[in-house]
Subunit: 195 residues, 2 copies
DNA sequence: GTCTATACTTGGATAGAC
DNA sequence: GTCTATCCAAGTATAGAC
């Protein structure tokens, strides 16, 4: 199917998800992609450059998925349901894990942290706008700054991913989404029709 | 001062904090501890065993600090203040970072995840009891299960640590603690004297 | 573009002197 | 307990054939 470049990115995502940053070597990624180790350096220059490219790829595609989610949900309860579904999909595909591995792995390599932060930057704005939109129709919407909530949401997703991967048990995390749905229902009932 | 074993553990904590799991080699840790690389294997058997010992050391000491915190705070507002102070101390000393690095690093090594999970297990119980105690006097205390809140709190701390280390900016995280304090004040005011 | 071969580096781990 | 010396495995990166 895809060319070697594309398959290397896909393989890098898989290795990051399954074995983490410290195991994401050129040899292991190339083996997964079914090609030679030297091609990593031909196409991307270095292993870290490939890993950043993989992160950017995941980030772009997931942002689109989240945007579609936001466009099709009205109530907070709907939003909680959709968020739960997307979170499950991310766990299955390892999208969030790619991010957590890159964040912690970036500590070891000079300059890598800045590049990861650059990938994460658009998510700040996206999450802020999403929270603002979601809380606009809520009675508590004017009480909390969207930036703060967005920061907490991103941090929460990262932390949940870490705990889930450690225990290999996503039930406690999913229970929190169910709890959020109940809370959303309550808030929706307080103002069923936005002005 | 301390014997070599103790200094190796201290050095392992420093390296994990500053450079992450993938850079925590026997050579680098021993150099930091001012001793020979072979002593890592003499005292601990393997590098991973040393890293687990370092994590256990941090876990034990921090649990004591958190317990003292809990014993000396009555209102939710007090609790938020204390939590903020402890979180700052943890950031400075890199205690939470040791945990996040071990969680993500454990993905690469068979069996390591289980050992990290064992260290984290007592924190589950501790956080659950702490949340139960803190919410006992609150009007919303009976509405949310302590286990769920505790899970969210632990995940939130992990996520905040990751974002803070990535951006090297703890202000957004500290702002969340200030927000929690305001919320705590409100809840405290609803029931100033517990029954 | 893709491969083989290789130079170079780093790391885990052990043996054995002291 | 601590050191030196060493073996072996794995990784990054490059040169050069095809």
């Amino acid at each position: 199917m895809g060319d070697t470049r594309t398959e290397l990115i896909a393989a890098a995502i898989e290795v990051l998800r399954e074995s983490g940053f410290s195991a994401a070597s050129a040899r292991k990624i190339a083996q997964r992609a079914g090609c030679n180790q030297a091609l990593v350096f031909y196409h991307f220059g270095s292993v870290n450059d490939l890993l950043v490219a993989a992160l950017e790829d995941v980030s772009t595609h997931r942002m689109q998925a989240y945007q579609r989610l936001l466009d099709h949900t009205g109530t907070l309860a709907d939003l909680a349901d959709s968020a739960r579904a997307v979170f499950q999909a991310d766990l299955d595909a390892g999208h969030v894990r790619v991010l957590t591995e890159m964040i912690s792995g970036a500590q070891a390599v000079r300059g890598l942290g800045e590049r990861v932060a650059q990938v994460l930057a658009p998510w700040r704005a996206f999450a802020r706008d999403a929270v603002r939109q979601a809380l606009a129709a809520s009675p508590v919407g004017s009480l909390v700054p969207p930036e703060e909530v967005a920061y907490a949401v991103v941090a929460g997703l990262l932390g949940l991913e870490m705990l889930v991967s450690l225990d290999d048990d996503r039930e406690p995390a999913l229970a929190l989404f169910d709890r959020a749905r109940l809370l959303g229902e309550t808030l929706d009932r307080l103002r069923p029709r936005p002005a």
